[in-house]
Symmetry: C2
Subunit: 108 residues, 2 copies
């Protein structure tokens, strides 16, 4: 039985969760690579505390962003596109009106 | 003019500051080496947040410990000895009673 929730079909919800997992994996990969590069160049207390501040901000961002909820999901996907975590092509299973909104918001 | 403050001679205050700088440099070197090793082994979000928690605790510890004030300094030096940041031999410019207290507290 098709159970549409807040305008999202079953199929779209499944795709949305898959996209979420992909975006999170890419964001973490990027963060790990940043941390490795930063840790290579640590030379002073200031460098270490800067790395700590950077990591605090990224953690806050990632933990806030990757909380999967249907309301607001189009904004989150637009952010993923803007940040280069997913491409518009990867979102092609969504309805045309959702894609148009994501595309428009990703340019803001 | 010799200006003893709270039982610390000028010479002891100078030595205390030098020991502080040495202990801080060693502690930071150790932390940098830990961060490099941890960042090499990052594989998941959990690993990254564990590294963040570790760094938060170390920052709190280091920022608290390396605030130079004469009161309580013997405790701080005993901690340095206990943590292997400085050796008792490096503290030999202090008076015998200070050394005895540091030695005793470092074994607690």
């Amino acid at each position: 039985m098709e159970t549409e929730v807040a305008g999202w079909t079953d199929q779209e919800q499944g795709l949305a969760q898959a996209i979420f997992a992909i975006a999170l994996a890419r964001d973490l990969e990027c963060l790990i690579s940043d941390l490795r590069s930063k840790s290579e160049h640590l030379g002073s207390a200031e460098d270490i505390w800067k790395m700590h501040d950077f990591l605090s901000i990224r953690r806050h961002e990632i933990e806030g962003r990757f909380d999967f909820r249907l309301p607001g999901l189009l904004f989150v996907f637009a952010d993923f596109v803007k940040d280069g975590l997913v491409s518009l092509e990867e979102l092609e299973g969504f309805s045309d009106d959702k894609l148009a909104k994501i595309r428009a918001m990703s340019r803001m």
